[in-house]
């Protein structure tokens, strides 16, 4: 009996430790963003603010942080729309058209999932310069679409394969061709799969660092993760201000997460089970 209780208590402790580890860093981020820089200088990192100040947020916002938000949103939305449109087409072919070369291409897509961006980074950088897209936000769209395609196609294809074949037969009897069938039957029926995969993709694009670091350079083309990087040198001496930037930058994801956590975790699960 005693042993049973010790195990229970140990499990609770384990759960609590991880709860603290997950939350404390964010708590620190928020309280430090509310300090004045003098307060931070005097008392350091681990105290609560002497007086709650919103001044850091006001300064950061008037300093034009929203242009970085705009870049991030434009890149993520444009990339996502292109990605979903072409991934849906490809997944339709992979799940509904039974030809040997189509199957071979599917294997090729799966194989390309293991190629890391760092192998492709230098050639893509040179290519981007050649086609005069270097240091524009448009430069990011191609790589973002391409490197999210394999996993997106993989998840959507397995989703479309689940759609019952009888549906197909009755549609063929009604005399509808591949294009009609794709647009008016398969795509609407794949809605749940599309939402799942879209969540997975948009998080990875919103947070992407490597390509944005290499393919953009000037402040007006940088996405949010890179803007944080720039702010580090800009506000290096005013730490609370940097924390205000951090809080603002994680806010959209936190809000989206609060509203759609069920779907999001489902998306992560689908993405995680790709192996």
């Amino acid at each position: 009996m005693i042993k049973k209780y010790t195990v229970k208590i140990l499990i609770r402790v384990y759960a609590a430790v991880f709860l603290a580890l997950s939350l404390l860093p964010f708590y620190m981020m928020i309280i430090n963003s509310l300090k004045s820089s003098q307060d931070y200088g005097r008392n350091g990192f681990f105290t609560i603010p002497e007086e709650i100040k919103m001044i850091n947020y006001v300064k950061v916002i008037t300093d034009g942080i929203f242009s970085y938000f705009k870049n991030s949103i434009v890149v993520a939305v444009v990339s996502l729309l292109i990605l979903l449109a072409i991934a849906l087409c490809a997944s339709y072919a992979f799940s509904r058209i039974r030809l040997r070369w189509v199957n071979l291409l599917f294997m090729l897509v799966i194989a390309s999932m293991t190629i890391s961006i760092h192998v492709a980074l230098i050639p893509i950088y040179l290519l981007t310069r050649r086609i005069a897209l270097y240091d524009t936000i448009a430069a990011l769209v191609g790589p973002y679409v391409a490197f999210n395609l394999p996993i997106t196609i993989f998840i959507l294809t397995s989703f479309m394969k689940e759609i019952p074949v009888e549906l197909e037969e009755s549609a063929w009897i009604d005399g509808c061709g591949h294009f009609r069938f794709f647009l008016s039957i398969i795509t609407p029926l794949s809605k749940a799969g599309i939402i799942t995969v879209a969540i997975y993709d948009i998080i990875s694009m919103w947070n992407e660092f490597g390509f944005a670091l290499v393919l953009t350079q000037s402040p007006n083309t940088r996405t949010l993760p890179l803007a944080l990087w720039n702010y580090k040198s800009q506000y290096g001496s005013n730490v609370p201000m940097l924390f205000a930037v951090l809080v603002l930058s994680v806010l959209p994801m936190a809000i989206a997460f609060a509203f759609g956590q069920d779907k999001l975790i489902k998306g992560m699960m689908a993405g995680a089970v790709k192996g």
Partner: protein, 294 residues
């Protein structure tokens, strides 16, 4: 008549696949081929004179102690990730799975660290580690010690960054295992309870063996992820001080875009590619061979 139908089907398939393969060829297949070509050049990336030096870069790479140090760091991260992150992720997922519906809010909070950009996380922890008034300095001063600079000390920099990697990676694998646990039928647990098995017996005797394939997949993902790791190390230390936290990807990045050695940087990238591919297949072979012996 029939032949035309097949032709039409082929054309339809090609039409559906063309856009996807345009992107995959331009941004994945072509770069992989091109990087091999670049590795034979002595070139700074800008000037018009590219000098073809054949295998010179490869000879340099084989004697480049910085590259091998970086590769060793990668392998250390691989081992540590599997040893540290997997047990934590599995036990957390098991706990959440057993809690059932009540796990809702806990699941959400545990997942938070994986949600945010590596830049935000990296900057946040740079301040938590800061020497002047960071967490280790505060603790050391409590015991009468002095300033502790974990990121600036070559002996601790890699471990300091690795703990942050764990902080973001554990929730990711937790969700992965949660998906695997939720795939196990509930009757299995009920049957085990009827046979008076306790939680520990159920976990080690029933759940873990059934999850063997998921664990293999997660370890493979972790292996690939650790070999190509870049973000947090670059953000927090840029590979320093004095190469002590350098990884293959950060080394490649600095060579290419800071020292402007495009050709040699490409060689390092190919070296990385070969190492990742070899290790992945070797690892797959080893874990599947053991499975057959059983």
């Amino acid at each position: 008549m029939r032949k035309r139908g097949t032709l039409k089907l082929n054309m339809t398939a090609a039409f559906f696949l063309l856009p996807a393969f345009f992107f995959i060829i331009v941004y994945i297949f072509y770069p992989v081929v091109d990087v091999f070509h670049l590795s034979t050049l002595d070139w700074n990336g800008i000037s018009p004179n590219k000098i073809n030096i054949g295998l010179e870069n490869w000879k340099t790479l084989l004697h480049d102690k910085y590259f091998f140090t970086a590769a060793l760091h990668n392998i250390l991260i691989v081992v540590l990730s599997i040893v540290v992150q997997m047990p934590l992720a599995i036990t957390l997922a098991f706990m959440l799975d057993r809690m059932g519906r009540r796990s809702g809010i806990l699941k959400v909070i545990y997942y938070l660290p994986s949600l945010f950009s590596t830049t935000a996380v990296g900057l946040l922890f740079s301040f938590i580690y800061t020497p002047r008034n960071g967490i280790f300095t505060v603790i050391s001063k409590l015991f009468g010690g002095g300033i502790v600079d974990v990121l600036g000390n070559p002996h601790t920099s890699l471990l300091a960054v690795f703990s942050v990697i764990c902080w973001t990676a554990v929730p990711y694998y937790m969700v992965f295992y949660l998906a695997a646990f939720s795939g196990l039928p509930q009757e299995l647990y009920e049957a085990a309870v009827i046979d008076s098995a306790n939680l520990r017996q159920y976990f080690f005797g029933i759940a873990l063996p059934l999850l063997k394939n998921s664990i293999k997949t997660a370890c493979t993902l972790s292996l690939i992820g650790s070999l190509k790791y870049f973000d947090l190390v670059y953000i927090m230390t840029e590979g320093g001080p004095n190469y002590s936290s350098d990884l293959m990807a950060t080394y490649m990045y600095r060579l290419t875009f800071k020292s402007r050695q495009m050709g040699y940087g490409a060689t390092v990238a190919v070296g990385m590619f070969l190492i990742i591919t070899t290790f992945t297949y070797l690892f797959q072979y080893l874990i599947n061979r053991n499975a057959k012996e059983e």
